[in-house]
């Protein structure tokens, strides 16, 4: 009787170790380190951050902070203007670098440099070039015109455009490389056939290149948007958010509040960006995890 009972019991719910095969147990063991990292440094911080941002008062305070409104607008300019310019240039240059020429191959080796070297020394280099007194740009302007050049980083519009320029300088090589891979995948026969039919440069682009690359281009643009939202260096190292906190973007604004010990505002400013980020993330995940 007792034996039957324990037998029934075993069938109803076998111990976990019996249900898993040895490789599966190893699978769990080998996956555990990443899961621990994920729980400790993604789940807990994000959860804790959201908890810190739970008070509606933070959002009211944000709404009344003119720096936040300015940072939100700057972020939009960065995304809409900056990224579209960057991706359009990348698309154009991907065609240039796809040309079979020895000197273009060599140029492409140099062209990668901005992406390969860390941002801080190069952005500081740009910052010094535009120093109103000692920078090379104003020195040259003085040499040729005899007049003092503008104080470049003192005008928020100019400073923001320059931050966008720095961002483009840094990430253009990467996107050009990706789009070039896409271009090289297009069958050469199509171009040869078009050539025979006497198609012009713009017709070849419109009817062959663009249709083949459209999806890749859109994916790259969206991915670039997500990463640009997290680009702290371009703005912080060039302008520090200045002059008068007018060139902040959301990435630097969160850190600014953090430095001022206003943690709930820092988190709230990030939470405000989530309605824009999450759809992008969802779309990217769907595309990449096919």
């Amino acid at each position: 009787m007792a034996i039957t009972l324990s037998g029934d019991h075993a069938i109803a719910s076998p111990p976990l170790s019996a249900r898993l095969t040895t490789p599966q147990v190893w699978g769990i063991v080998l996956l555990a380190p990443y899961i621990l990292v994920f729980l400790a440094f993604v789940v807990y911080p994000v959860g804790y951050g959201l908890w810190l941002a739970r008070h509606p008062a933070s959002y009211v305070a944000l709404w009344h902070d003119p720096i936040f409104a300015r940072a939100a607008v700057n972020t939009l300019i960065f995304l809409l203007v900056g990224i579209n310019i960057k991706m359009a240039i990348a698309l154009f240059l991907s065609g240039f670098f796809a040309q079979q020429r020895t000197w273009i191959k060599w140029l492409s080796v140099l062209f990668i440099l901005p992406w390969a070297v860390p941002s801080i020394p190069t952005i500081l280099s740009v910052r010094f070039m535009f120093n109103p007194e000692w920078g090379v740009i104003n020195q040259l302007i003085f040499k040729f015109t005899g007049e003092d050049g503008p104080n470049w980083l003192n005008d928020p519009t100019v400073a923001l455009s320059m931050a966008i320029g720095v961002h483009i300088w840094k990430s253009l090589p990467f996107w050009t490389l990706i789009l070039m891979t896409g271009r090289l995948a297009i069958s050469h026969d199509l171009y040869e056939a078009a050539e025979v039919d006497g198609a012009s440069w713009s017709q070849k682009f419109r009817y062959i290149t663009w249709p083949s690359m459209q999806t890749l281009y859109i994916t790259c643009t969206l991915l670039s948007m997500i990463w640009t939202l997290g680009d702290f260096n371009s703005v912080y190292l060039l302008t520090g958010g200045g002059p008068a906190d007018l060139t902040h973007v959301l990435a630097t604004l969160g850190i600014r509040y953090l430095r001022l010990d206003q943690l709930s505002l820092a988190m709230a400013s990030i939470v405000c960006a989530l309605p824009f980020v999450l759809p992008l993330v969802y779309f990217m995940m769907k595309r990449l995890s096919r």
Binding site: W26, L30, F96, L113, T122, W134, L177, L229, I255
Partner: protein, 283 residues
């Protein structure tokens, strides 16, 4: 010898018309940094395009730590090396184990973990920095190198797992079956079959994680603050705080700091381009 036709010359001229601005645009900030590094202070600040007396004196000052800002140059350099190598090694271990588990052992829930990892990959780095900073404080890790190492592992792992999983999926199942038939245990399969076959991808991912950690500024600047604990980029950023920053030394230090990643990139280029552009690497 065949003379180029007029049409060919025209095409070449058009290409040059693109190539020359691209060259200038790419090189100016880098050349400017190099120019400062080899210029005495007077030349650097006079807006010259080539110094009258090129010198390696700035390098000597940096290497001998002969300036207030550079007192801890070597220890900061070492901090950068230790953190980059640790983050690289740890990312490789964690991501390789995870990719093997998900792709080869088909662990239950593996797909889920993969999606969560991808999700992390898309969180903008500056957004995660705010809560991560507080969390590191709660864990008591602030000003400890482990905080930066673990932060870099957290950021590098998702992409690493994703790339390694894509590569693992391409290995034929028959390999695992044959090894198991021969009596290999799961760990032997991992060590003797999987890791050797994955070597090119592992090199690419290791390089990626090392470069990511070496180049990182934001997290380093938030998580570390003591002069003898900070990494080189944070030390460079601290130059900015002063009104009379020695810019020629800042640029020299920056140039030294930028050399290793550029060199590593060119040495491992064939692995990087093959392994990384398959997906899309975090810039």
């Amino acid at each position: 010898m065949k003379l180029p036709t007029l049409r060919e010359i025209g095409t070449e001229a058009k290409l040059l018309l693109i190539g020359i601005p691209v060259f200038i645009w790419t090189m100016v900030p880098i050349y400017h940094m190099f120019l400062f590094a080899i210029s005495p202070k007077e030349d650097a600040f006079a807006g010259k395009l080539w110094p009258t007396h090129p010198t390696l004196n700035n390098f000597s000052i940096v290497f001998h730590q002969q300036h207030y800002f550079l007192r801890d140059f070597w220890i900061q350099f070492l901090n950068s090396v230790v953190i980059a190598l640790s983050a690289g090694a740890l990312t490789l271990m964690i991501a390789t184990a995870a990719a093997f588990s998900i792709s080869r052992l088909r662990v239950p829930g593996g797909r889920w973990v993969m999606n969560l990892a991808l999700f992390t990959y898309f969180i903008p780095a500056a957004f995660l920095a705010v809560p991560m900073y507080r969390t590191m404080g709660n864990y008591g890790l602030l000003n400890n190198h482990w905080s930066l190492i673990l932060a870099m592992v957290t950021i590098a792992s998702p992409y690493a797992i994703w790339v390694l999983k894509q590569a693992s999926d391409k290995l034929p199942v028959e390999l695992d079956e044959a090894a198991t038939m021969d009596g290999a245990t799961t760990l032997q399969l991992f060590r003797l079959v999987y890791v050797p076959l994955m070597m090119p991808s592992l090199v690419a991912i290791g390089t990626y994680a090392i470069l990511l950690a070496w180049n990182e500024y934001l997290y380093a600047f938030l998580l570390l603050s003591k002069d003898t604990e900070i990494t080189l980029p944070v030390a460079l950023g601290n130059f900015l705080a002063a009104d009379d920053s020695p810019w020629e030394l800042l640029m020299t230090t920056g140039f030294i700091y930028a050399l290793p990643p550029a060199a590593i990139y060119y040495v491992f280029k064939r692995y990087m381009v093959g392994g990384l552009t398959a997906g899309a690497v975090k810039s």
